[in-house]
Symmetry: C2
Subunit: 545 residues, 2 copies
């Protein structure tokens, strides 16, 4: 039997291998991570996106020996309930990661249905023919791990999201020794996070945030409201620490923030001294100077706490004079516009807004270029595949690896679905699977496709114009004036002028002997374009009675 | 008579005063700049946006003494033809600016209809009671000016887009001496560009681009294709210079790039040695190593040259192996996603792509924080109003001015429409005008409003579901099965399952005695939501015959 390992980046939205990877050895599959993605600006009406694993799992269902989750962020664990509906396999991850996975299961009404196995960094677990060594990495959530995956084909290091933080909030550095020991054993292939491949230098330590928070807490004249992601447990700890230091109470706001903080406290990842935590209602009853609120909305999401405060539509509480808002985050590409709009609206309502261009109240959770080079130096892989990034980031990561002396023939840039094979310490391109993603839209998964999206795009450009005809089958004449409905095309005033013109035009056409709905549609579409120089979707329903 | 000057930022899209400002002294109005804006991601189906000057001009038409344009970029001159349809007043600007204004007039079929007056930096022009002193500023287009506007109310310095470039491409620095002389005379009010107010340091000189281009030109194995804005005349000069130095011919590609380069050559703002410029067809017939193409598309616009090359839909030519693409620009906020997608697609097609994260092949045309401070130091204004920026940028600019010792009571942050009054060297808030903007959508200006946009948004979220009923007025029964049309809601496969269910449901309702279209609509909307957990817009047309 050939000792061949197949590496399959299984789908996602441009970011290769981030949301789901599979390792195949013979008839054995190990899945690493199963996350969700959020829709891009042109994906209209979509709730979220998951990797399209249906065909793959249908073919390999009985071969899946286990699922390993590297950390608890949405883009790595968010679709666990969807996957476990299709495949019955044990799931492995650290305490916090498995806790957050269980939260996802509950949300999707699958509480208690997963076979979750808690491991610790430093553990080695045999999963089928794969010996998986879990080692600690720093990231913007505690208890994140990288993986050493040994199979008869050799040793692969799977470096999911990481950074080399010398002074992390939890004091636990990325495991340099383990990386060096892999290097001594000989690493056949390294796969590594490319998120910040275009970013020079070294990502600052999470610790630089503390003095920035000190500055904010010292100067804020009243309430402080901190916005971040609900999964940023380390950031919660930093806000709690600042609250304690500066004599404020803290309240978490919003379901996901409250749930995750409770879980993190229960599991020991978030330490809150007695009497520091208060409920939102208690906080709202206290003097502004005595309290800090922490909620979601750092990306300008309209339905988040911060989005609702910005538009004055938050039910429980509104902005007050002298509120200081801290956006402890950086806009995700594509969100800059909505983040800036949110900031403008908050300023307009009189708040002071602190973002990461004013004070370093946020740092990235991902390695920058110098850290990527350090990883390559520590691991000294025989082969390298950049992952977790858009194509242009993978190219930059590959350029760096080449610049450090790795043979260009040993570096592959693979997109989702492109299988890579490892055999005798050499990599080669394997088959090409679909490797796509599916939209989750309401209850349905995958029932919204690009054709539906294109129709939504067309509807959004010029709206609709509906014409209903009733034609007397004996005389061929209209039985009454055509009924017309239009939306998203013109203003009501313009419609009041247009509709009688269209009705007259339709009557003329029908009297001219054209009663085929499609021909009526074509004539009216041209007519509307000539009148407005705008394109709309025209629909004609017609009955002969 | 009170010596009161009113300053009116007249509309635009968040960026205060960028696209149109008015100065009023008694019954005299001076308009500064009249530009267009491009739609944000959620402004569906809109071509572009212009300031909403209709009411203002209707009230002040006879008072407008002149229109001054500070430079030739779209956001400062692009709506000149729209304004000149409403008001008959002389227009003043430098040679290049007036040339580009005339191009805009031609595009809008108003060639020769403007009263354009060419001035030079250093000129003083009396426009009604306003003495306007034009002085040179560096920006990313040649021949840009700032304005000293003296009226009986005092001296106002209007610092439109600028930077302090010590080594600009055309060798012509911002006029420090003039700024200092204003300061000696006493500046009652400074208004200044805030675009880069969140950006620390000093914007690099345009000159840093030259060595970066040298690196690209030395290493490119075949064709070079440079993408930039059609109005970046200085960048065109730099690409021409690099072409000459490295022995390549240059061809400009695309209507706007070709038109603007011709105009700039004719007016002497772009120097191209004989035999350097070739047509696109000539260029396509030459060896890749001998040629550089320059076109639009640096923002990932789908209809630009670069957008079409990325999708393989450019008619005249496609990408070739070993093409080197240079994106000589930086994504405008809101465009990051489309720029990254374009880069990914170009890479996927085998091109080498150089953007400003790889080499400094672009610098901003706007002053950064240290330059803003230098301006404040040079001008020493008694009052300060930050302009040209979103609200959060204005706040940052105001913070800087305060930090430099300007009395906070002498600094006002005004949004579009907020009149500021200057009298006896003091500023105060005046009345609040609408100060909005209008959408240009096809032929119509202002006929698309936010309500239409909301309808488009709703259509884009869940599509449409049309039901046409014909009911026998004697029996109350359907004369045939309801006709159903749906778009943008579900896939055809899902529709095939849903439609018979809906038809059956409709028949049941009608037979149950409900034939009011609105009630049918409500029942079916709930039915569809229960079946799919998605919301769509349901329309029912119904005839009784």
């Amino acid at each position: 039997m050939s000792k061949k390992l197949k590496i399959v980046p299984l789908g996602g939205l441009g970011e290769v291998g981030k949301n789901m990877m599979a390792y195949e050895y013979g008839e054995n599959v190990l899945i690493v991570d199963i996350g969700i993605m959020f829709p891009e600006n042109d994906m209209l009406g979509i709730d979220y996106i998951i990797p399209d694993f249906t065909d793959y799992i249908a073919a390999k269902r009985d071969a899946v020996r286990g699922i390993v989750i590297t950390h608890g962020h949405e883009d790595h664990v968010g679709a666990i309930s969807h996957l476990l509906q299709e495949v019955n396999a044990p799931v492995y991850g650290t305490t916090l990661t498995m806790g957050l996975a269980e939260v996802k299961m509950k949300r999707n009404k699958m509480a208690g249905q997963g076979n979750f196995n808690v491991v610790q960094a430093g553990d080695t677990v045999n999963i089928g023919p794969f010996k998986v060594e879990f080692f600690h990495v720093c990231h913007s959530i505690p208890d994140a791990v990288g993986l050493g995956i040994t199979s008869p084909a050799g040793l692969v290091v799977h470096m999911s999201d990481y950074k080399f933080d010398h002074t992390p909030v939890d004091g636990w550095q990325t495991d340099y020794a383990k990386l060096a020991s892999f290097s001594e054993r000989g690493v056949d292939l390294l796969l590594a996070d490319s998120t910040n491949a275009t970013r020079p230098g070294w990502t600052p330590s999470e610790r630089v945030i503390d003095p920035a928070f000190d500055t904010v807490f010292e100067n804020a004249p009243a309430r402080i409201i901190v916005a971040s992601f609900a999964s940023q447990i380390s950031r919660m700890q930093q806000v709690v620490d600042a609250a304690v230091k500066h004599g404020r109470k803290i309240a978490f706001v919003g379901m996901s923030m409250v749930d995750n903080s409770k879980l993190a406290i229960k599991l020991g990842y978030l330490e809150v001294p007695t009497n520091t935590l208060v409920s939102l209602d208690q906080a709202l009853g206290m003097k502004g100077k005595d309290v800090v609120l922490m909620g979601t909305g750092s990306q300008g999401e309209p339905s988040s706490i911060m989005g609702r405060l910005a538009t004055g539509t938050n039910r429980h509480f509104g902005l007050k004079d002298n509120d200081t808002i801290v956006l402890s985050s950086h806009p995700i590409p594509g969100n800059e516009e909505s983040v800036n709009k949110t900031i403008n609206s908050l300023l307009r309502r009189g708040a002071t807004v602190i973002d990461d261009t004013i004070l370093p109240i946020h740092v990235s959770g991902h390695a920058s270029q110098e850290e990527m080079k350090l990883l390559l130096s520590l691991v000294k892989p025989k082969n390298f595949v950049p992952m977790h990034g858009e194509l242009h980031m993978l190219h930059r990561h590959a350029m760096m690896a080449e610049g450090m002396g790795i043979d260009p023939d040993s570096i592959f840039i693979a997109e989702n679905g492109q299988v890579i094979e490892l055999e005798n310490s050499k990599i080669s391109l394997g088959e090409r699977l679909p490797g796509g993603y599916v939209f989750v839209d309401g209850d349905s998964i995958g029932n919204t496709d690009h054709k539906v999206m294109q129709e939504r795009e067309r509807l959004s450009q010029g709206g609709i114009f509906l014409i209903d005809l009733n034609i007397d089958k004996f005389t061929g004449k209209l039985m009454h004036d055509p009924e017309i409905i239009t939306r998203g095309f013109v203003t009501p005033e313009e419609a009041d002028e247009l509709i009688p013109l269209v009705q007259k035009k339709v009557i003329d056409i029908i009297e001219g002997g054209i009663d085929n709905p499609k021909r009526v549609m074509n004539v009216i579409r041209s007519f509307l374009y000539n009148e407005t120089k705008r394109k709309t979707m025209v629909f004609v329903t017609s009955s002969k009675v």
